[in-house]
């Protein structure tokens, strides 16, 4: 570990951070445009060409707004909560491989901030800490609606976290690794000589179950009871304004992007695709990044599509779907898949 290695790590972290920020501005604009299109409206048009700078304009506005601190808040926790919501969102992205590694001189540089051996577990751990921010924000605001939002968030997170983790297990069993870069490597090549060798072909039920749980985990419609406008004003962030509110907003969109990126990495082949250039060179890596981004934005589009299409669930329906449908379904699928895989890999036990 010399100076150059440290420099590479710093560059990676900064690039990932800046990418996530710019990406969020674009995602907010894209969501408004997509939802407007689906509802026969035009969406934002004023700031920049086709309104593309709308996110930036909103961000600047929030940045310069007055911080309003209600009298009943528990101040330390109230300040801590927005920061806590952003941290796990940023950390999740650090283990996701964005493109194939390339060589600079003798060094191999990967398009991934760090490749953990326990990458998937790390992601599950971080997404379970993300809900703390919501609960703490709700509790520290010292007001009814945020508190109800916070309590709902706890129950929802505990229920759907289990389903999300269980939905990922078949992929781990199939690939035999928790490292995300190895999961991507396991999906290279062809399936039956024709299709790309993505996990979704073998593990389609897992992908669907994971996607449902991921929508619930990011508190997006139709599972956005945490901030249900018609019942709870704004939910857990009712009492927040200015840049503190902006941090919650930022974290939500980074989470959507990270969850989509995770879905792509685990089920949709990650950055695998036609390389076009010699493998291991910088242009080939960039092409890989493009494949990764195309797939990820396609999954993000699904998030927006669902939001524009489905009405919000009732609270008891949410709990019933989580505990009585999703978790038994993931467990049953895991059992079936493991038994079939055992037969395929090791043969029948009586043979």
């Amino acid at each position: 570990m010399d100076f150059l290695d440290v420099l590479i790590i710093i560059v990676k972290v900064v690039v990932a951070f800046v990418f996530l920020l710019i990406n969020t501005l674009l995602l907010i604009w894209a969501e408004r445009k997509v939802v407007a299109w689906m509802q026969n409206r035009v969406g934002p048009t004023r700031a920049g060409p086709a309104g593309v700078l709308q996110g930036l304009a909103d961000g600047i506005k929030l940045f310069f707004k007055e911080h309003i601190t209600p009298r009943n808040v528990e101040f330390n926790v109230y300040i801590l909560a927005p920061v806590l919501s952003l941290l796990p969102a940023l950390l999740i992205f650090t283990v996701i491989p964005m493109g194939p590694s390339f060589a600079i001189g003798e060094r191999t540089v990967s398009f991934q901030v760090t490749d953990l051996n326990v990458g998937l577990l790390f992601i599950i751990a971080m997404s379970s800490t993300a809900v703390y921010a919501v609960v703490l924000a709700g509790w520290s605001s010292g007001s009814k609606y945020p508190l109800l939002g916070g309590v709902r968030a706890t129950a929802q997170a505990i229920s759907y976290e289990a389903a999300m983790g269980l939905a990922l297990v078949p992929a781990i069993v199939y690939a035999g690794t928790l490292s995300l870069s190895e999961l991507v490597a396991h999906q290279s090549g062809r399936f039956a000589g024709l299709l790309p060798n993505w996990h979704i072909i073998v593990l389609a039920p897992s992908f669907i179950l994971f996607f449902i749980a991921a929508v619930a985990e990011t508190n997006r419609a139709p599972f956005d009871l945490v901030e249900a406008e018609s019942e709870l004003v704004g939910g857990f962030h009712t009492e927040y304004s200015g840049i503190r509110f902006a941090l919650f907003f930022l974290a939500e969109y980074i989470n959507i992007f990270s969850m989509s990126a995770l879905a792509v990495t685990v089920f949709l082949g990650g950055f695998n695709g036609p390389a076009l250039f010699e493998v291991g060179t910088f242009p080939a890596s960039l092409v890989g990044v493009v494949w990764f981004l195309v797939k990820t934005y396609a999954v993000v589009f699904l998030f927006f599509w669902i939001r524009a299409t489905l009405p919000r669930l009732r609270y008891d329906q949410l709990m019933e779907l989580g505990w009585k449908r999703l978790i038994p379904a993931t467990l049953a699928w895991l059992g079936v898949f493991s038994i079939v895989l055992g037969f395929v890999r090791f043969g029948a036990p009586w043979a």
Partner: protein, 168 residues
């Protein structure tokens, strides 16, 4: 050197969290202190190369403390500090006695010198290495622990069933 710096930083963090947990009047702050300690300990595991244990530590305890939060908010109430009258007069001497036993245990173990960590922080903490150990050398203790957890979860379900029947 890096290991020492991280150890000092997060060791202090773990202690501060523990003190905060015991000392704060508001139960929510106690829970927060507990999370702080858990996270600091997870970082110490990472420093020693045990990534798997660190990740599991956060997954398990983050969920557990989350439930604790829910209990605090639902049972004690949002803005009332905890009732400080002692319900169990015996618990203070009992806690002191148990603490003393724990302290003696620590002293004995440290004096015997069997508490040495890895010298260079190169424990192989990968999932594969841990699975190898668990399913070969430590299979019986592992399975017995599993049984214990199954008993606990079955017990919880049975208790819930009793309550449902009583209501009907």
């Amino acid at each position: 050197m890096t290991e020492l710096i991280l150890f000092v930083l997060f060791g202090v963090g773990a202690l501060a969290g523990a003190i905060m947990m015991v000392a704060s009047r508001n139960p929510v702050y106690s829970a927060l202190g507990l999370i702080g300690t858990m996270f600091s300990i997870a970082v110490l595991y990472v420093v020693n190369g045990a990534h798997f244990v660190a990740a599991v530590q956060i997954v398990v305890y983050a969920g557990a403390v989350m439930t604790l939060f829910l209990f605090v908010i639902m049972l004690i109430g949002v803005d009332q500090p905890e009732d400080t009258t002692e319900q169990l007069p015996i618990q203070r001497p009992a806690a002191l006695a148990l603490g003393a036993i724990l302290l003696i245990g620590f002293v004995v173990v440290i004096a015997a010198g069997t508490l040495a960590g890895s010298d260079d922080g190169t424990v192989v903490g990968t999932v594969e290495a841990i699975a190898d150990e668990l399913f070969t050398n430590w299979l019986l203790p592992f399975e017995v622990t599993t049984l214990l957890l199954v008993i606990a979860s079955v017990g919880a379900i049975v208790l819930a069933q009793f309550k449902l029947r009583d209501r009907k």
